[in-house]
Symmetry: C2
Subunit: 228 residues, 2 copies
Amino acid sequence: MAFPPFAVTVDLVVFTIRDDQLCVLTIERGEAPFAGCQALPGGFVLPDEDLAAAAARELAEETGVGKDAEIERVHLEQLGTYGDPTRDPRMRTVSVAYLAFAAQLSEPVAGTDATAAQWMPVATALTTSLAFDHGQILVDGLERARAKLEYTTLAATFCRDEFTIADLRHVYELVWDVTIDPRNFHRKVLASEGFVEPTGEHTSQARGRPAQLFTLGEATQLHPPIRR
Amino acid sequence: MAFPPFAVTVDLVVFTIRDDQLCVLTIERGEAPFAGCQALPGGFVLPDEDLAAAAARELAEETGVGKDAEIERVHLEQLGTYGDPTRDPRMRTVSVAYLAFAAQLSEPVAGTDATAAQWMPVATALTTSLAFDHGQILVDGLERARAKLEYTTLAATFCRDEFTIADLRHVYELVWDVTIDPRNFHRKVLASEGFVEPTGEHTSQARGRPAQLFTLGEATQLHPPIRR
DNA sequence: CGAATAGTGTCTTTAAGACACTATTGA
DNA sequence: TCAATAGTGTCTTAAAGACACTATTCG
């Protein structure tokens, strides 16, 4: 049977928290179209590769994540598919966008690609002209991320394996761009069955009373949700 | 630049309410693979066609919806993309699934296709072996539909232009497969700013006190949501 | 009349938000 | 000591759910 041939790519919206800012992974394009322009990382899906596998592969290539046990600390989900006939001037392309949340673990971001990858503050990225329809994909990814924090435990994915309640609150504050009452937040998280489990350890570095350390609990969904 | 060629299709999960049941539109496949098997309606995306346009075209072909002003009464949104390399034995295919909610307006369902289309109760469809990965797509579509009713006004999309609070409650009950207290539901809907607007008209047909008729209000999101 | 459905009022419980207060550290 | 952060308690308000009650129709 004849069918119109399409190129299928995956593009990644990878969020992390760095220097007290929500950041997104971008690359500088080396070739036309949009040469020299900032873009989301991504690439072609291989002939026998699943879409999620292609996304995981691109993520590993660009961040180094996934080569070790670090894959455990990354959340990857399908965001949406973008297929406007004019989105790529070279050919008819359909891009399946994936959304990733990562704790900032290893610093090296320069991937196996020759392209220079960097963590760009989301506030900057939103006012930057990105290649293709990547500006729209970023907006959609940010909105999805914000919504997901409400009813899932995925905020912990932005934290290291052990974290304090203040760390977790900081994730919500940076992603939602709001301030949250520390006392009410504390109570709400502890009241949420299975959200966090105490390790028994405490932090010691900062000024102020040492905080208890927690790990992510069994729950993946929050009932009731933590509302924006 | 060389790239692996893919076939790109759209598949539709179209829900409606018929005979007091949540139903999904299915077709009987005429050709291999899965000849004679039930499947979701869908087809190839044309070379210069947007993905959403392809979904709208397939929907019109299968249901007749969209030819008149009826397009107003249908909600169409992207559900997700399915691209397992083995999902279609003929070729490498990526399918972009769309979710549609429709009021049961015109009865004729037999589309312009030769394939026989029918409204199948979702409870039946879930225990039927559907072609390709359409069983998974249906499950995902049902879960998305259930979630959407919580925080959007889309339940009204299942109703005719004018509807009673009981009609609306019935949508929630059938989609969520629960029973809802009519009195609390009534209060909650009326308290939700912009959800419904009274027309001033009343129903007269049934036994019991005549009910007020409403149209959908300006709101698209519900604050607070109506929880399952 | 009684059955059926529409619609209102009221009480209890749960959760959110404001915010006073105590606890424990470093400088 | 004070500044800073962690953590608890308590009050008020909003919303969910249970359910008694009234309203209006048909048979």
